[in-house]
């Protein structure tokens, strides 16, 4: 505590280091423990200036705690947070260049839309006409100028979100935090708002950290995502990268659905690998080398949309299996087939309905072959 007191708070006379592109917001070995529970476990993270970064994880993974530490509601037990080069240690939330859009929006119920948006600006003791100019600009940006005099309870969910966004952007924060931004909206509105919020954020050019448990939301709205589990960030990358080349079973299973085959490497060559799986009759062929050794236990992940179904046996024996259609879920754009293999393993395959019309109709209890391209599978070691 005494140490903290002696540290100088960042001021104009204590200028920040030159902004580095990839570390505008930088988390350095940030750990947070509550009693003995480790909520956030030595997280390192760099967010670029102007980027929308998404932290994706199930509830209790520590993503909210991380968000609260950035906002200043919680102090890290260990590690440091830098925003634009300034160490945030010991700086209370009301002095941080960070604003947050709360999951519940946390709009002040006794204030009008206008007063809500003006609240942060008034705290900075800005002159009155400057405040009203900024409020007007913000409300125009979110198309809420007609509702300036309304109270929050007179607004719909989507309108409240716009106000919350305007309020959190009004102070032009260096970092905007979005806590489950679409969590309080219904599905239809969510899809519309996702794109609208992103276009607003991009037009403002604010650096953004968003936490969500909704992968679709994370993938639509962000430029990079981090998968968080049990207080650690398991993988960071562009949504496509994380989806196509997950680095662990957890990530593969967390993002989208996946067919996972457990097996042992039986042929290990620089340009290909063969894997024998208990659940599959035929071996899996991977058309590239894997940093592994013979006899090593691995997992092979294949996305359902990469699996094709046919009534004829495929020409190549590898990467295929024979099974029976157990279940079909018709989802409009595509159908999900559950194919039971003789040993009981279920393989999930997505069939796009554009194909289905041309093909022989595959239906319940049909015998089918599932197969996939060698490049479609991902070998996972952990």
């Amino acid at each position: 505590m005494a140490e903290k007191m002696t540290e100088k708070p960042p001021t104009a006379t204590n200028p920040a280091k030159p902004p580095s592109q990839d570390g505008y917001v930088r988390l350095q070995q940030v750990t947070k423990t509550f009693d003995k529970f480790v909520a956030v476990d030595s997280v390192d993270l760099k967010i670029k200036k102007g980027e929308i970064f998404g932290l994706l994880g199930s509830s209790g993974c520590g993503k909210s705690t991380l968000l609260h530490m950035l906002a200043g509601f919680e102090e890290p037990t260990e590690g440091k947070i830098f925003i634009d080069g300034v160490d945030m240690t010991g700086i209370p939330p009301y002095l941080r260049p960070v604003n947050m859009m709360f999951q519940s929006y946390a709009l002040f119920p006794h204030m009008t839309v206008e007063q809500n948006v003006a609240f942060g600006l008034k705290q900075d003791k800005l002159p009155k006409d400057e405040v009203s100019k900024r409020v007007e600009k913000m409300l125009n940006m979110v198309h809420m100028e007609a509702y300036a005099k309304r109270k929050p309870h007179q607004l719909s969910g989507g309108q409240r979100q716009r106000v919350a966004l305007a309020r959190s952007l009004a102070k032009q924060p260096k970092l905007l935090l979005l806590d489950e931004p679409m969590g309080a909206l219904d599905k239809k509105l969510r899809e519309q708002m996702q794109l609208e919020v992103v276009s607003i954020l991009e037009s403002v050019g604010v650096t953004c950290l968003m936490v969500t448990h909704d992968q679709e939301e994370a993938m639509t709205m962000t430029s990079r995502i981090g998968i968080m589990h049990k207080g650690r960030i398991l993988q960071i990358g562009e949504p496509k990268e994380v989806y196509e080349t997950p680095n662990s079973r957890f990530t593969a299973e967390f993002i989208g659905s996946v067919n996972m085959f457990e097996g042992i490497i039986v042929e290990d060559e620089p340009e290909y690998v063969m894997i024998n799986c208990k659940s599959l009759e035929n071996p899996i062929f991977i058309d590239h080398g894997v940093t592994s050794e013979l006899g090593m236990q691995v997992w092979v992940a294949v996305r359902p949309e990469k699996i094709s179904l046919s009534k004829e046996p495929p020409e190549v024996k590898t990467n295929s299996a024979k099974g029976v259609v157990k279940d079909i879920a018709y989802l409009g754009s595509h159908s999900i087939y559950h194919v039971g293999l003789p040993n009981g393993k279920l393989v999930i395959a997505n069939v796009y309905n554009i194909d289905r019309a041309n093909k022989l109709e595959i239906t319940w209890n049909d015998e089918v072959y599932v197969s996939w391209e060698p490049a479609s599978a991902v070998v996972l070691i952990v």
């Binding site: 002095l95 006794h110 309020r167």
Partner: protein, 299 residues
């Protein structure tokens, strides 16, 4: 057929509503009507000690309304002083209760459940013993050779006993002590519902803790402040026991005057007039309170 049945039998809803309604009629409206009636009669040596409003003279029924009691209340400055003094004491003790009760209610609302229940019980616990006994206990503490004076004397802080009892100080002390729970409970009920993410939001937007309190917590707990203040202010205006037991000869409160008129002077008509005026005075804050509540409901 099914629609006619509810007409024949009183529905549960009507029974439920009629209970507080009948309570109001029998224990408030009728007694007040009686008091109101007596206030227009004149004192008489009879049982009951006042003249009848209706009398039969020469086979005609005559209604005699005397406004003399009300005129008397306005001519004798004792009553005006007593009313004003009661309102003054009620106002300041409400303020004191609010200043003491608000932090307590806030602290209770922000503690976690097991401790919170214990704290709430400690607030209510004193009411489990008789109100009279608790006020009497203060006499034992405050009197010249009472606990407090003896303690201060033995510690050498004072050389001779302080006159604590039978002063305005002891009246305020007794009132604040007795009515504090009535302030804390509605405030607590209000503050416990406060969405604390609003305070986080205020802090996030740059408001220092004190500013957050003034701009968010305080306005949002206004309903609790008003109902707590009403629950203290209204009964304190008519308070009789505390000024009688703890107050001095110069503690003039309308409750005490009322008692003296009824039981010492046996002037029921004047006493009734005093009571009617007191009620009229209290109607003003009650109406204000109601208006605020309606506004809250309408949002």
């Amino acid at each position: 057929m099914r629609r006619q049945l509810p007409l024949a039998l009183p529905s549960g809803r009507i029974i439920l509503i009629s209970i507080p309604f009948l309570w109001f009629v029998f224990f408030l409206f009728i007694p007040f009507a009686i008091v109101f009636k007596i206030s227009f009669s004149e004192i008489a040596t009879a049982i009951p000690p006042y003249t009848k409003l209706l009398s039969t003279i020469n086979d005609t029924i005559q209604l005699t309304l005397s406004l003399g009691n009300y005129i008397f209340l306005f001519t004798d400055s004792l009553y005006a002083t007593a009313y004003l003094n009661s309102i003054k004491i009620a106002f300041f003790s409400t303020l004191l209760c609010l200043l003491i009760g608000y932090p307590m209610a806030y602290a209770i609302a922000r503690t976690e459940s097991p401790t919170r229940n214990l704290l709430l019980m400690l607030v209510v616990l004193p009411s489990w013993t008789s109100f009279l006994i608790r006020v009497y206990a203060w006499i034992g503490i405050l009197k010249n050779n009472g606990l407090l004076n003896n303690l201060l004397l033995s510690l050498g802080i004072i050389n001779e006993p302080l006159q604590l009892l039978h002063t305005n100080f002891s009246v305020y002390l007794g009132i604040v002590y007795a009515y504090l729970p009535f302030m804390i409970l509605p405030l607590y009920a209000n503050l416990v519902k406060l969405d604390y993410s609003l305070l986080d939001a205020a802090s996030d937007l740059g408001a220092r803790p004190w500013k957050s309190f003034l701009t968010i917590t305080l306005p949002l707990s206004l309903a609790g402040i008003i109902s707590g203040s009403m629950l203290v202010f209204i009964p304190v205006v008519g308070e009789f026991v505390i000024p009688d037991l703890l107050g001095g000869p110069d503690t003039l409160m309308i409750g005490k005057v009322l008692w003296q008129e009824f039981f010492n002077n046996r002037d029921w008509p004047v006493a009734s007039a005093v009571a009617v005026i007191m009620l009229l005075l209290l109607i003003v804050p009650i109406l204000l309170f109601n208006r605020h509540q309606n506004k809250q409901l309408q949002g």
